[in-house]
């Protein structure tokens, strides 16, 4: 449910360190709560994002929510396929449904995020 190698924000984003970059998406818990996602709005490549500030929007049949940046930095890549097929957020939140790839300004910020066990506890579930 919540992969051990990821870090988690209290706004339900995950962050995955890949060398010098950080890949970002939303958790299975968030995707389930939103139900069918119909639209996602991502920042432009090159945009600066700030720690725990909105960087985009995700919209489901039930609600519209902001996406919060789990790390500050520059967006170097966005998942364009997601804009065409936002439903993969419900099917594969940690894989195909990644949202942005960030060049972090201060990777130390990731230390302020939760590990899988703490996040599972926050959403009231046991780690699988």
């Amino acid at each position: 449910m919540y992969p051990k190698e990821l870090r988690y924000s209290k706004e339900h984003e995950w962050a995955k360190t890949e060398g010098k970059r950080v890949r970002v998406g939303i958790t299975k818990f968030a995707a389930d709560r939103l139900s069918d996602v119909v639209y996602v709005e991502l920042p432009a490549v090159g945009a600066d994002i700030a720690f725990m500030q909105p960087f985009g929007v995700v919209e489901s049949v039930k609600a519209v929510s902001d996406l919060y940046a789990p790390v500050s930095g520059k967006v170097v890549e966005i998942n364009k396929a997601l804009v065409e097929k936002p439903e993969v957020i419900n099917m594969d939140p940690y894989g195909e449904a990644w949202m942005i790839l960030v060049e972090p300004k201060d990777p130390g910020e990731l230390g302020q995020l939760m590990d899988a066990a703490a996040y599972a506890a926050m959403v009231g579930e046991a780690t699988s």
Binding site: Y39, E41, E59, S60, V61, K62, A63, V64, D66
Partner: protein, 447 residues
């Protein structure tokens, strides 16, 4: 059925149920010293027939465009309304329907709005139109905030040839938003595209123009669109006289990104200035940023067509503080009227009305230009309004014309101090050659 239950027995029953003995007891929370301690100063009650006669006498002190020859436009237009419009729009099922709150129960209302939206798209040349807004002025304010949101930029440029009241509301609308409004000065009755090109910067979210503009002139839409687009700004086109689109190129054809404006001219009465009909339409790519309600067509579980309110997640009752607009309603009855009007006329009928307006206005323009002392202010092409320079104060001309049953044009000095000798005249299809000749004849003899 009684609407005011006021017999003694009824009052006593209500008092008993409220747990008090007298009506005065209901007001005990209001301090003694501010209470009125005598009966209202009203004349004695009169019989119904006398009351109706009294009200009719009061109403007769007003006048209207059925009794005057109206040459006043400036954002509100005296068009002929076919009898199908009140006949259908005032059917109680439609008349009493408010904006769809119990949406799926109101299939008839939803279908009417859907058809309104579809016709509005055809009229403006845009992909998507909403279910309507309050009026042209507030719709223009919404367009500015939409453009700022879409471009992530904070400045809008507005031509001074946009309706002055739209510009005032635009400033009110944006005064507590992180949006700066800057004027783009009109010259010779139009917005110069070269000036627009120079004024647009990388901080400009939108260039807002009106066409035909407040002076009646048709703007160079292509050049203004390219001036905005060259720096990544959007072109917002306000339409105050939608009947013009029966003849003129739709804004979508020359590159408008958002079309906004006032739909009153489409079958709605002048209504002493309101309620009116705000229009807004945009491109498919911007549909999630369009404010207000949106009706969509779908199929039910058995494959039958049905109508729903769609993309409601944008609206404030779902998105709360994060919503980009606080409009969760529409002008349902005015939109219905516009839909019935457009459906009654059809494409050819819309063109015929527009042509009549243009031809009659052109005749009036030529006729008045020939009156000694009067001249047409600018050379720009016009639709059904044009500006005349006058040898005497336009307000004085209006006062004299009114004595002859003619409602004159708008003295522009009220909004443009440097145009104090200018008079904005409007000629719709309702004006006859005889009325136009009569107007010109009076101008010839006025001293």
């Amino acid at each position: 059925m009684k609407y005011i239950p006021a017999t003694q027995a009824e009052r006593e029953r209500m008092l008993r149920s409220a747990g008090v003995r007298t009506v005065d007891e209901l007001f005990r929370d209001i301090p003694e010293e501010v209470r009125l301690k005598r009966p209202l100063d009203l004349p004695p009650a009169v019989p119904d027939p006398d009351l109706l006669a009294h009200m009719r006498r009061l109403a007769d002190r007003n006048t209207d465009c059925d009794r005057l020859a109206c040459f006043l436009g400036a954002g509100a237009y005296d068009h002929f309304v076919p009898s199908t419009v009140p006949h259908l729009a005032l059917k109680p099922e439609f008349l009493t329907a408010y904006t769809p709150y119990q949406a799926e129960l109101m299939q008839g209302e939803l279908q009417a709005i859907y058809e309104y939206q579809t016709m509005m798209c055809e009229l403006t040349g845009m992909d998507v139109a909403n279910a309507s807004m309050y009026d042209g002025a507030s719709a223009t304010g919404e367009a500015a905030s939409m453009a700022a949101d879409l471009t992530k930029r904070a400045e809008v440029l507005v031509s001074t040839a946009v309706h002055p009241e739209y510009r005032e509301v635009l400033r009110t609308y944006t005064s507590h938003l992180p949006i700066t409004v800057r004027d783009l000065p009109a010259r010779d009755g139009v917005t110069p595209p070269e000036a627009a090109r120079q004024a647009v910067t990388d901080a400009t979210a939108a260039v807002i123009v009106q066409s035909p503009n407040f002076f009646g002139s048709i703007e160079d839409g292509d050049a203004l669109a390219s001036a905005a687009h060259a720096r990544g700004a959007l072109l917002v086109v306000a339409i105050a006289e939608p009947v013009s689109l029966g003849l003129l190129r739709p804004p979508g054809a020359y590159g408008a990104d958002i079309v906004t404006g006032e739909g009153q001219a489409l079958g709605n009465a002048l209504n002493y200035g309101g309620p009116y009909l705000g229009m807004i339409a945009t491109r498919d790519a911007f549909v999630r940023r369009i404010p207000g309600r949106l009706v969509g067509r779908t199929v039910d579980t058995e494959g039958r067509p049905g109508y729903v309110l769609t993309l409601q997640t944008r609206e404030q009752h779902i998105r709360r503080a994060k919503a980009t607009s606080n409009i969760c309603t529409n002008e349902a009855l005015n939109a219905l009227v516009a839909a019935v009007y457009m459906a009654t006329l059809g494409k050819q009928g819309m063109r015929d009305v527009a042509e009549l307006c243009a031809r009659k206005a052109h005749y009036a323009r030529t006729r008045i230009a020939a009156v000694p002392g009067y001249s047409i202010a600018w050379d720009a092409p016009t639709f059904n309004e044009f500006v005349v320079r006058c040898p005497m104060p336009p307000a004085e001309i209006n006062r004299r014309l009114l004595e002859h049953g003619i409602l004159g044009g708008l003295p522009l000095g009220r909004f443009y101090p440097d145009l104090a000798d200018c008079w904005l005249l409007c000629v719709t299809e309702r004006r006859t050659r005889e009325e136009i000749d009569r107007l010109a004849g009076h101008l010839e003899t006025l001293q």
